[in-house]
């Protein structure tokens, strides 16, 4: 029996009163995970990432004992936001501040409300199955219809003061009601040198004519392996703007899937990955244009230093007989060292004629001509390089709204490698 099986049985024993539908869902999901196993180099969509660390490390599920003394100052808290705080997997209702129009539900409550959100639907992602089997953390947030939430809601997942290596499988469900507007900062922070594993799944539904600004910040400690799945469903005229900023975790894999299930949806993805030492960041994005008049934009940038590596695999699918799809996908990477490595694979799968699609990818080093240009203006070569790296990142950072979140990301970027 491997450690995951032991942990799975321990979890079932620990919560014998859980609804039987959830128990049976967990069992189905765990069977699915066992069938699939951890990804290997032979799996096309996973080939550039080595998951042996997660397979070998015997993480245990976080338990009640793992709740440390609540820090006086929660790290990463961005001013002028509503907040939901989760520490070592434990939701802290007393620290939660939410506005009118937004409610929190436990998974048990949300499951009754909409169990489809938890169904695996033939998904072949083993980490989604593993999360469904072991989900032990997270919250469901419901934004009622016709609600304009002015300030962003920041969900902090803090991992701190560990005694031994543990894991969490947070499940975050976010429903944005019709005609509503909200911003969410999904923030992972680690302050421990003990190895840990975080495997979140985030399910987002944006209902008709609603809009969401979703910012994901990954600042796990480098002792962390973080495998994430984010699924978006956009109904008629729904709008999504996402920014992903990741600088933490030794291993980061993110599977993002967006389904336009109604006409007229719009989605923007901006991503900035910063890696150094031996870090490895792997992002897979699938945007599925199933309906008409939908627009998607992707710009993913990586800055890779030392011996770090990155993977970007983006796919835009345009279904048969859809009208007026407009999709653009761009991946640009900056290598700061000759030992850094990037694998990029932007793809289009277009089955309709009525489309406007473009994609591209480029990987390069800092531009010597630009460095020389700055030097001839009296700027020393080290400052010139920093200026160019900032310029490269700024294209993503300056688009982040609101300004409080932009400032936070800008500061974190400035601190990177300094």
């Amino acid at each position: 029996m491997n450690y995951l099986q032991r942990q799975f049985h321990a979890l079932l024993d620990h919560c014998p009163d859980e609804r039987k539908e959830i128990r049976s869902l967990r069992k189905t999901a765990f069977d699915r995970f066992n069938q699939l196993g951890f990804p290997t180099k032979k799996w096309e969509e996973w080939q550039f990432t080595d998951f042996s660390e997660i397979r070998k490390n015997e993480y245990r599920l976080a338990s009640g004992k793992d709740l440390p003394k609540i820090p006086d100052k929660i790290p990463g808290l961005i001013p002028d936001t509503y907040s939901v705080i989760i520490i070592n997997g434990h939701y802290q209702p007393q620290l939660t501040k939410l506005p009118m129009g937004v409610s929190v539900k436990s998974h048990e409550e949300f499951f009754q409300f909409d169990e489809n959100v938890y169904s695996l639907n033939g998904n072949k992602n083993p980490f989604l199955a593993l999360n469904t089997a072991l989900m032990n953390s997270g919250v469901s947030l419901i934004v009622e219809p016709d609600s304009i939430i002015e300030k962003p809601i920041q969900i902090i997942h803090l991992t701190t003061a560990l005694s031994d290596q543990f894991m969490n499988h947070p499940r975050l469900v976010l429903n944005i009601g019709k005609n509503s507007q909200a911003a969410l900062v999904e923030h992972y922070i680690g302050e421990t040198e003990i190895p840990y594993f975080v495997n979140p799944v985030t399910q987002v539904l944006i209902d008709g004519n609603a809009s969401l600004n979703h910012i994901r910040i990954l600042e796990e400690d480098v002792s962390c392996c973080h495998t994430a799945t984010t699924n978006y469903i956009l109904k008629n005229d729904a709008r999504l703007n996402t920014t992903s900023f990741s600088s933490g975790a030794k291993l980061f894999r993110h599977d993002i899937k967006l389904d336009f299930t109604g006409d007229g949806g719009e989605a923007v993805f901006n991503g900035l990955c910063l890696t150094e030492d031996q870090q490895h960041h792997d992002q897979h994005v699938i945007v599925d244009h199933q309906q008409n008049f939908c627009q998607s934009r992707q710009l993913f940038k990586y800055i890779l230093a030392d011996k770090s590596s990155g993977v970007f695999n983006g796919k835009v699918v345009v279904r048969k007989n859809t009208k007026q799809t407009d999709a653009d996908q761009s991946n640009r990477n900056l290598l700061l060292s000759p030992s850094a490595l990037m694998n990029a694979n932007p793809q289009l799968e277009i089955l309709s004629d009525d489309v406007k699609c473009s994609h591209g990818s480029s990987t390069g080093e800092l531009d010597d001509d630009a460095i020389f240009y700055l030097q001839t203006r009296g700027i020393d070569s080290e400052t010139a390089k920093l200026l160019l790296i900032h310029g490269f990142a700024n294209e993503i950072i300056e688009k982040v709204k609101p300004i409080s979140v932009q400032d936070y990301i800008h500061n974190q970027f400035t601190d990177w490698r300094s």
Binding site: F372, T376, I379, S381
Partner: protein, 245 residues
């Protein structure tokens, strides 16, 4: 101010400069003319300190010092300025920030305080008028989305703000319509002073009508084959270059 002695330089084993001699004194304006590929830009880049050339022999002296081992930034801080034939686009770096950074690098080098925001804006607005650019350029990334003419005017703007002692303008007049050309010439004439020197690199005589040089040199095949006064430019306009071969 600048003394070039028998300068020979190669790129990837191809010899480009084959013994250039040039002497530029304070207060002088020199034009270097020649066809494409004659070595004009190589000469300009070498004076500014670009390091992908190998200097096979000869020396460049600036203010009496051999500058072979001086970095491009230190040359700039000591007063050498190069206006690029093709100014480099730097996405994501704001023009105001860049200009301020460059100006402050110079001030720090002279042990002056950094310029305060209000003085800087006053200075920049005044200089923008000289080159006929509006303030919206300041909000854009350096040369990003600028037209050819805007890029060249931006180079002159930097020259006016940084106030170098030796300005080398590499084909700053190419690809400009007559109004833009007059603006560039106006900028050059604003800058021209007894204690400064200018090297105008061009293959057209047109700019030299508005920014009149003291000396004209013809660079051909890596050597200066003829030098003269401003009338040489007119002669070249009339006869072309082939009579010098």
């Amino acid at each position: 101010m600048l003394e070039i002695k028998n300068l020979c330089a190669a790129v990837e084993n191809k010899e480009i400069l084959k013994g250039v001699n040039l002497n530029v004194k304070q207060g002088e304006v020199h034009a270097i003319m020649g066809r494409n590929g004659s070595g004009k830009s190589t000469l300009a880049n070498l004076i500014a300190g670009k390091n992908n050339y190998s200097v096979t022999s000869g020396e460049v002296y600036y203010k009496g010092k051999n500058i072979a081992d001086i970095s491009p930034e230190d040359r700039a801080l000591n007063g050498i300025f190069l206006s690029f034939q093709y100014p480099v686009v730097i996405p994501g770096v704001n023009t105001t920030y860049f200009l301020k950074e460059a100006l402050n690098a110079k001030r720090r080098n002279r042990e002056k305080d950094e310029i305060n925001a209000a003085d800087f804006m006053r200075l920049i607005k005044e200089k923008l008028k000289e080159v006929d650019l509006d303030e919206t350029y300041l909000k854009r990334s350096v040369n990003d989305g600028f037209s050819g003419g805007e890029k060249k005017r931006n180079e002159i703007l930097q020259m006016l703000i940084l106030e170098p002692e030796l300005a080398i303008l590499d084909e700053t007049d190419s690809g400009l319509d007559i109004d833009a050309l007059k603006t560039i010439a106006h900028g050059i004439n604003q800058y021209r002073r007894e204690d400064r020197a200018i090297i105008l690199i061009t293959h057209y005589q047109r700019l030299l009508k508005y920014a009149v040089p003291d000396y004209v040199h013809v660079l051909m095949n890596g050597r200066i084959v003829k030098s003269g006064g401003k009338e040489l430019a007119l002669e070249l306009e009339e006869k072309g270059y082939s009579w010098l071969e």
